[in-house]
């Protein structure tokens, strides 16, 4: 799934969800910085992570609650630079979600694809 010509590849893993807004935005910050450095970047949302991508949530929560920008702003900063967002089916099930509940552009992968991405990344950073 990585482009073959990308020199540096970073895979972020987000396990926290809507119940912990303070942990919601940093993976997007770091991913946007990495993409700005011309790295190839993906964020894999597992465990409670997929709940952050709900289309009915991204405008309502942010890292500082009602202050500051909503999560959608940080997500679009990252995706606008080419960061790809990934989820897996069991994590959707865990959060009682279907892919249509999430914002557009999220890709569904499985455990094998995740492990392949991780094994071929230059860094895997988990939150």
């Amino acid at each position: 799934m990585w482009a073959e010509d990308s020199e540096t590849k970073i895979l972020y893993v987000q396990t926290h969800g809507v119940t912990d807004p303070g942990r919601s935005a940093t993976p997007f910050f770091l991913a946007a910085s990495a993409a700005a450095m011309e790295f190839e970047v993906m964020i894999y949302f597992t465990m409670y992570g997929p709940s952050l991508l709900r289309r009915d949530v991204v405008d309502k929560i942010g890292p500082k609650g009602d202050q500051g920008q909503p999560l959608r702003y940080f997500i679009e900063q990252a995706t606008g630079l080419g960061v790809r967002l990934l989820v897996c089916q069991p994590s959707l099930d865990l959060n009682d979600l279907v892919i249509e509940d999430l914002i557009d552009g999220v890709e569904v992968i499985g455990g094998a694809a995740f492990n392949d991405l991780a094994a071929s990344a230059d860094a895997v950073i988990s939150f």
Binding site: L30, A32, S33
Partner: protein, 81 residues
């Protein structure tokens, strides 16, 4: 006549008051609109902007010409690769 060490900027990018990662993100976007050899001047107040822009420059191959601080504002000159 001595050669100037601080070339005039072709574009100024004002990131004063913006926090990480915005100065890096906006710089990356701004250089795409400039031609090779042109100079971008980034103005920023984020305390971590100097190491950030050094890392960004070395990774992307753009040339960080100078970093100066006037008051709270960092002035960072970058020549586009």
């Amino acid at each position: 006549m001595p050669e100037s060490t601080t070339p005039a900027a072709d574009q100024v990018l004002d990131c004063i008051g913006l926090a990480c990662p915005l100065p890096v993100v906006k710089t990356a976007q701004a250089v795409k609109s400039l031609a090779s050899g042109q100079v971008l001047e980034l103005l920023a107040t984020d305390a971590g902007v100097e190491p950030d822009m050094r890392a960004w420059s070395s990774r992307t191959g753009n040339d960080l010409l100078s970093v100066t601080k006037q008051g709270d504002v960092f002035h960072i000159l970058i020549r586009v690769k």
